[in-house]
Amino acid sequence: MPDVTQISLDEVRSLDDSVLAHSLRRFERESSEARDPISAFGAFNQHGSSPW
């Protein structure tokens, strides 16, 4: 597995608008946060009449 830490923050910020670039920026942002994650898009889960 390539080590993501080998990519500098400047490189991450200068990446294009691709999905991978977004993912790297998110990883870099969250790595600096100590807090536990909460779902970004609602609680979770599932569908039917009542997804989420």
């Binding site: 390539p2 990519i7 991978l20 998110r26 599932q46 039917g48 989420w52």
Partner: protein
């Protein structure tokens, strides 16, 4: 409800975790529960659609029949007080409150105003309160959107793709499809000033639909995010199209077509929640989803009558599966943290079966969505019924990300 729990445990003494996970021993070993940070309110117990795959009405648990139709102001107030106590006790700086159903919009505009006011007034001001809801959107007109905008309640919508795909399952009781109503609502929600409320779309997978066409049909509504949810099932009640053959991966095959289309776009078109969580886990981060990874689940459900339950998708497993025996009138949320069924979702790899423990993608997969692990007689200490699909999908995403990262590192 206490009777339900007692019956459930005596009927299922060999099933994990209720029958054999010792929370006291976990405590003695140094384990500490994670406080709840997401509170899902079942504000309305009925629905104006009759979707054929709905876990609330069409699967094993039929507890909705005995619930009040709408959550009372008393339950809202009591639950809000309990959340405030939990926030103070655990020094929480943010909580998520989710309005859910049934169909939450059926509770009416006035309910939403009173709900948001009660919750926000109860919780200490140094704790950020985020309100959201998941809806089928057929009642989502401008006057309702104005209420949601004023109350800062964000909105996720359920839609299964184009008209044919959606209306095959998501119809009214008379058989009429819901697509036209949902489309009209999404046109409003995705434009100003309401677009700031728009969280995204949830789509239940039907293998009969073309995956890329489904993705592109959802993209037409400019969602900030979307997700594709496999239909509920478990080892005792297999999902549609899923056999016990470990070589068969119909859901991975379907989802990979969307992943490849989405990932390869030169400019990111939207977020796809499940894929993004897998990528984040591959990179070494943590998951925000209960369906992937090993992050402790910190969600609790408040039913319309004030009863506390586990994640409501457990309704797909068996009658009474989400029950805790607790309620907001007699119990604190800390009481729920002591239950084996809650602890089982917070102990990481120790909550996985031996097969998952040995798996190469264990820390990314996390065993998959908990209700999908159920087998009558042994409970939830099993791989997901979607295990072959998860393994293939995760390997595919992992290998693609590794390949692209290697290119970046070399550059």
């Amino acid at each position: 409800m206490a009777d339900t729990v007692a019956m459930r445990r005596s009927d299922r003494p060999t099933e994990w975790p209720d029958g054999n996970l010792d929370v006291g021993a976990l405590r003695e070993s140094g384990w500490q529960p994670s406080p709840f940070r997401q509170f899902l309110f079942k504000v309305h117990s009925r629905c104006n659609l009759s979707c054929d795959y709905c876990y609330v009405y069409e699967m094993a648990d039929q507890s909705w029949r005995s619930r009040p139709v709408t959550m009372s102001a008393e339950v809202v107030a009591r639950a809000s007080m309990r959340i405030a106590d939990h926030v103070t006790r655990h020094n929480l700086d943010e909580v998520r409150i989710i309005l859910h159903g049934g169909e939450p919009l059926m509770a009416g505009r006035e309910f939403f105003v009173n709900f948001a006011t009660t919750v926000r007034n109860a919780i200490p001001s140094d704790c950020t309160v985020e309100l959201g809801m998941q809806t089928n959107a057929v009642l989502l007109d401008e006057s309702f959107l104005d209420v949601l905008l004023k109350q800062r309640i964000r909105v996720g919508v359920s839609l299964d793709g184009d008209r044919d795909a959606n209306d095959r399952h998501r119809s009214y009781a008379n058989g009429r499809g819901s697509y036209d109503s949902v489309m009209a609502a999404l046109r409003k929600l995705s434009g100003p000033p309401y677009d700031r409320l728009y969280t995204g779309l949830l789509c239940t997978v039907d293998l009969k639909n073309d995956p890329v066409a489904t993705y592109e049909a959802l993209l037409e509504f400019a969602p900030p995010s979307m997700d594709f949810l496999p239909p509920h099932g478990n080892w005792s009640s297999l999902p549609p199209g899923r056999s016990i053959d470990p070589a068969a991966t119909p859901y991975a095959d379907w989802l990979i077509q969307i992943f490849d289309r989405w990932y390869a776009a030169p400019s990111r078109e939207t977020g796809i929640r499940f894929f993004e969580e897998i990528i984040n886990l591959v990179l070494g981060g943590r998951s925000h989803l209960e369906s992937i990874g090993l992050t402790p689940v910190t969600l609790v459900v408040i039913e319309a009558d004030g009863v506390l339950e586990q994640v409501d998708s457990l309704k797909a497993a068996y009658q009474g599966a989400p029950a805790t025996g607790l309620n907001v009138f007699d119990n604190s949320f800390d009481d729920a943290l002591e239950l084996p069924a809650i602890a089982a979702r917070q102990i990481g790899v120790n909550g996985l079966c031996e097969t998952c423990q040995r798996c190469e993608v264990r820390d990314i997969c996390g065993g998959g969505l908990y209700p999908h692990r159920y087998r009558d007689g042994t409970g939830f200490l099993n791989p997901s019924v979607y295990c072959p699909d998860l393994l293939r999908l995760i390997r595919h995403i992992r290998d693609r990300v590794r390949q692209d990262l290697a290119g970046l590192v070399r550059a």
